[in-house]
């Protein structure tokens, strides 16, 4: 299988990049101002207390030794111990990734579908009122601060209409949901817990809507531009002149060609969405990865910062890898 070989090669190429990221974060977080130990000690702590705390987290050792210890841990899947909470970073992170992924993946998927349908329509009605209206609307959505849009949706959907649950948490605790992946809707589906599923979906509605509105514009623009290129191309004109039925023209000529540029852009948008979730999680008290990483950063919790940076980088490059594979499947000219 050529694709499998391609994926394997790309995964191998990832190792030096990720190693670079690990080294850089490890050094930067220690070189730049801020001290994690001072934040966990009370105001009356003595120098001896501080030294003891430093020793407990191995921060008294030489830098190279700390690094080799950390790297050794990473190889065995140990991300270290959080200085703030004293818990294992790996297990803390496992609880946090699911909820965030649920949010981002759902939003990007919905945005891609909307962008495809609306973008194709927009291209086929290019430069008419409907097309102009859609483009301006998408620009407006793209120009909104996502955290503010989240607040407005809460104001309308919760405080005003009362249709949606309060922005605290991801699922009604009374539904007794057993966590498996941390993505609540998925967990509810896996355990067949219908009340929890309904509750999780209601909680998801507003944050996902917020994210979709903010990210749909660039995807829409890309689909529209590619579709316009196809519609104005000679092969398409020839196919049309030969009298092919509209359905064949759309399915055979337009849709696939118009989607060719979408995967790599969707990967970029995925990264943008990860950035936005830090803000959206904050607004909806989502208790996801973004909030966790942000707190780690603010308290200079070295292991937490290192782990979250590594995971974000890993996530980002893996998404780009998936995008390349999808691109190759859509476009037969691409050889991988």
């Amino acid at each position: 299988m050529r694709i499998l070989r391609f994926v394997a090669r790309r995964l191998l190429q990832l190792i030096p990049v990720l190693l670079g990221v690990v080294v850089l974060t490890f050094l930067l977080v220690r070189v730049l101002p801020g001290d994690p130990i001072r934040t966990i000690l009370g105001p009356n702590a003595t120098a001896a207390d501080e030294a003891a705390a430093r020793a407990r987290f191995g921060l008294d050792r030489p830098l190279w030794r700390q690094f080799t210890d950390y790297l050794g841990g990473l190889v065995t899947g140990d991300f270290g111990t959080s200085i703030q909470s004293g818990q294992s970073v790996g297990s803390e992170m496992a609880l946090r990734i699911g909820p965030t992924m649920e949010l981002v993946v759902l939003a990007v998927a919905i945005a891609v579908v909307i962008a495809t349908v609306v973008g194709l329509w927009s291209a086929r009605h290019a430069n008419r009122a409907g097309d102009h209206g859609i483009r301006v609307l998408a620009l407006i959505g793209n120009s909104m601060p996502e955290f503010w849009l989240g607040l407005v949706l809460i104001l309308v959907g919760y405080a005003g209409l009362g249709w949606f649950p309060a922005p605290s948490g991801r699922v009604d605790p009374d539904t007794d949901l057993t966590p498996i992946t941390g993505a609540d809707a998925l967990d509810a589906l896996l355990t067949g817990n219908m009340p929890a599923l309904t509750s999780a979906l209601w909680h998801l509605a507003l944050p996902v809507l917020t994210l979709v509105i903010v990210i749909v514009a660039p995807l829409l623009r890309s689909v529209r531009a590619s579709a316009l290129e196809v519609l104005r191309s000679e092969p398409y004109a020839a196919a049309e002149a030969h009298g092919l039925p509209g359905r064949v023209l759309r399915r055979g000529y337009l849709v696939r060609a118009a989607l060719v540029r979408l995967p790599s852009l969707a990967a970029l948008v995925f990264g943008f969405a990860i950035g936005s979730t830090v803000l959206i999680e904050y607004v909806y008290s989502w208790q996801g990865f973004g909030q966790w990483a942000l707190r780690g950063l603010l308290y200079r919790d070295y292991p937490v910062v290192q782990a979250s940076v590594l995971v974000i980088a890993l996530c980002y490059v893996v998404v780009f890898l998936i995008a390349d594979v999808v691109h190759a499947m859509l476009d037969p000219r691409v050889r991988i």
Binding site: V17, G20, V21, L24, L28, L32, P33, G34, N127, H132, R135, L139, I140, N142, S143, M144, P145, E146, F147, W148, L149, L151, V152, I154, L155, Y158, A159, G160, A166, P167, G271, F272, I274, G275, S276, V278, L279, Y282, V283, L294, L297, L298, V309, I312, A313, Y316, V317
Partner: protein, 285 residues
């Protein structure tokens, strides 16, 4: 340019919408800039002035157009003064990013070699992260305040400009007119400054306005998280953050107006960028 009639009329139509977008964007920005610069003319309150007579969280109307916030400060006047901070930092940060990125891009693209390799690998690492996350990390490490924020936002945007300019320079440096200038004895600096740089900035002109809008959103986002402009100073993101608690209680006036101000400003930049893009596409086609 095509002489086919249908082709031309289609181009003209695309171009007209582009011009409309540019005009709308520029108009919006002009109005906002005027309102913000002449702000004190439209309000009798200072940005941090507490009205002892009005209750905190007073509803809009009367002496306070948009009511007062949780501290008893006038929302409308804070809105106007905050615009200076937001627009100022965003434009300054993008300007710094353009200058820094262009210098790096021209040097890397023109001279090539190991310098090019080092610079491009560095931008690779920067681009392995979503930009907001990078800005967040840099701002958290540098600390809050207008100067640090400008630096943080400029820093995370510079690599994109470096790449853009470098790509342009690599094609331009081999063009005949550059050769001609070189043989007629232009110094390297003069050659780069007078002949290479101006033409390599074409894509930057489209990206920079869009980037200004993005910089405003980043700044506001950072302030919203408490990493930006420290309270009591007026800044739109910080104002929204201050009004977060009011939203759940159904009080809209503390957080909705600053968001609309941001939206209008960023939309101005987006329209400008989109319109310029549309016109650039028309020329290319």
């Amino acid at each position: 340019m095509s002489l086919l009639r249908t082709g031309r009329s289609r181009k003209d139509r695309d171009g007209r919408f582009g011009t409309v977008l540019v005009a709308a964007g520029a108009g919006i920005l002009a109005v906002v800039a005027l309102a913000v610069l002449l702000g004190p003319l439209f309000t009798s309150w200072g940005p941090n002035q507490i009205d002892g007579d009005a209750p905190t969280l007073a509803e809009p109307g009367g002496a306070h157009l948009f009511g007062t916030d949780v501290n008893g400060m006038d929302v409308w006047s804070r809105l106007l003064y905050a615009g200076r901070v937001d627009l100022g930092i965003a434009i300054a940060a993008v300007a710094i990013a353009v200058v820094l990125g262009s210098i790096l891009g021209v040097v890397a693209g023109y001279f090539g070699g190991w310098l090019d390799d080092v610079l491009m690998r560095l931008t690779d690492i920067f681009q392995a992260f979503p930009t907001f996350i990078l800005a967040l990390a840099v701002a958290a490490l540098l600390g809050s305040g207008p100067l640090n924020l400008t630096v943080a936002i400029a820093l995370v945007n510079a690599p994109a400009y470096a790449r853009l300019v470098r790509a342009e320079v690599r094609t331009i440096r081999d063009l005949t007119y550059v050769d001609a200038a070189r043989t007629s004895g232009a110094s390297t600096i003069g050659l780069l400054w007078r002949h290479v740089l101006p033409n390599s900035l074409t894509p930057v002109r489209v990206i920079a306005p869009l980037n200004c809008g993005w910089a405003m959103l980043t700044l506001a986002g950072l302030s919203f998280l408490g990493l930006g402009i420290p309270v009591p100073d007026a800044e739109w993101g910080a104002m929204i953050s201050l009004g977060t608690g009011d939203v759940v209680a159904g009080r809209w006036w503390t957080s909705v107006p600053p968001g609309i101000a941001l939206l209008v400003c960023v939309l101005g930049f987006s329209l400008l960028g989109e319109g310029l893009q549309e016109r650039a596409d028309r020329v290319r086609r």
